[in-house]
Subunit: 379 residues, 2 copies
Amino acid sequence: MSLIYFDNAATTKVDEQVVQTMLPFLTEHYGNPSSIHGLGRRTRAAVEKARKVIAGHLNASTAEIFFTSGGTESNNMVLKNCVRDLGVTCLISSKIEHHCVLHTVENLEEAGLKVAYVDVNEQGFFDLEHLKQLLKAHQSENVLVSLIHANNEIGTINDLAAIGEICKEYDALFHADTVQTIAHFPLDLTQINVHFVSASAHKFHGPKGVGFVYISGDTHLKPLIHGGAQERNMRAGTENIAGIVGMAKALEIAYEELEETKAYILELKRYFKSLLQQEIPEVQVNGAQCENCLYTVLNVSFPASIASDMLMFNLDIAGICASAGSACSSGADQGSHVLNAIGVPADRPSIRFSFSKYNTKEEIDIAVAKLKEIIGVPA
Amino acid sequence: MSLIYFDNAATTKVDEQVVQTMLPFLTEHYGNPSSIHGLGRRTRAAVEKARKVIAGHLNASTAEIFFTSGGTESNNMVLKNCVRDLGVTCLISSKIEHHCVLHTVENLEEAGLKVAYVDVNEQGFFDLEHLKQLLKAHQSENVLVSLIHANNEIGTINDLAAIGEICKEYDALFHADTVQTIAHFPLDLTQINVHFVSASAHKFHGPKGVGFVYISGDTHLKPLIHGGAQERNMRAGTENIAGIVGMAKALEIAYEELEETKAYILELKRYFKSLLQQEIPEVQVNGAQCENCLYTVLNVSFPASIASDMLMFNLDIAGICASAGSACSSGADQGSHVLNAIGVPADRPSIRFSFSKYNTKEEIDIAVAKLKEIIGVPA
């Protein structure tokens, strides 16, 4: 049985071209970029070329891109080190952040940091008036605002530029968790007042275990991980060369094919949504319904009569890979904190279907037919 | 010109079998181990199998092995979190640690931690009487001892078991940076009183960007990197599956071939050493001369009349990859802190030649002939 993979917000298949780009760095080009001999210089050059590609696509300077082990490390680095190094005394975030932000915020709060959460409406949009009120109320503090660009569970995209302008007005630092949007949407970092963004290669057909953080040139963080002089003294540890090179290739492909891929996946999402609404009673789409949401994510609630576990279990048996909430919290066996925060009734089973360029309409037909069967919709 | 690679303490060529083991996890097995569907369960199983292999070879419990992005992160995690989570108030380390320990210690010292350094003799052995004195002097504190097992620049191996017993006597925690020894020497963690050890896959023919930390079951650290529930809530972030699987394979091969590889490389080292001493006047071997040192590392000082930069430059031109000190500090352009600490005169250029199973006697012949030429030894 061939699998149908609708869990691309959890992780994506590595693009074959990316694997090919990585391979020489797992075989003949194995030098340590910190070594000054020929073999080291070759991998050093590859790392710097990757940095240039990534910086170029985001309109950032190469000096603003730092390689990490992934989005989680990037987000940890920004939040923790803003407090440690930049004297941040108050953090404004939200209840719909990814756990790598939410749990880091909670950890900082336990250590004494002042924390406030921006209200979120039932579609997953931040209440920007409330953000202003919070910033006004904490004007005597050094504030960092950390808000997710596109929510990983429901796909709602918040307006980075608008949030950035508000942060500027109140002289606050701004970090955006862009793990779900980098390489999925154009991002010109010179046009947005944002100090930090983060990315994870495996969300855009790159390898797992590598990511980066953008730190705007006027912001001076220190390392989260100390040691050697790698990443211009900002992130110690021998570089994951194959991963870095693969990530740059994946990002390059993504931006080159962006319009085409976006149109293709958006059509899949629309088709899936309309087919679901047509074929299954009481289906409800969670999150924002706008065109400008993550085209990759469709979060749906099914009738309350359906057991959530059985739904996931039966989809799995049928070879359909989807997710109840984010993958990172599936081990935790708790309800989705995001769906709770936007007020989706907990008694309705919700599933996140998330798409990539490798999905097809045929797969959607099969999935919807299977869903009907599982739920027991009469033919 | 084919390169001669004598920089295996900086990083090693990935074993072809390791690459083959990794490949399926860069192609068809791309699920997120946190996803509960079939594709996720497959990678989850691979991660847990890798953990079992690694734990098995070190005689540890699988619950004591945590995957990280490498040795640097592992060492950072132990040092920082012992202070944060276990109430460590005093750190005893040495001046010959790898920078990822040394700079982390310095960072903790800046933040107010009490730090003391064990004396090191001219061969790189720790003065264990001095260690006892330091432990006695700090008996009122919660002490963590962090000492490197085998020094990465000079290859001197210190006696983990003996240090462990001393730590036990004074009720101190013990962390050993074992990055250069894991997969190079047998290590039975039930036989040594050590609470934390660290490893980096790329030091034993595994991929870059992945490592692990052993945390003994009776020690309760919390994460350095917060977020999802990965690694039983101890290290958030989607797992680098290909890297983890490759690391386990590399460790397995290393331990299976250990005696053979050790004998082979030791013979290369002996041959190189005797040839150098025979052919080049005033050559001096740095570090311990014992059989029980790192068989992979040979650190040599050349006559003071030779310019260090020119020596490295000319070796590189000749296609011979070696290192002046550790790779991690080569970018820093300072003298070696290890050679300084053991009193090697700074005016003599020193080179670390480090070997692997892929080196040959023929390469050594070529290298020594080339060294004679560069140094200007009459034929």
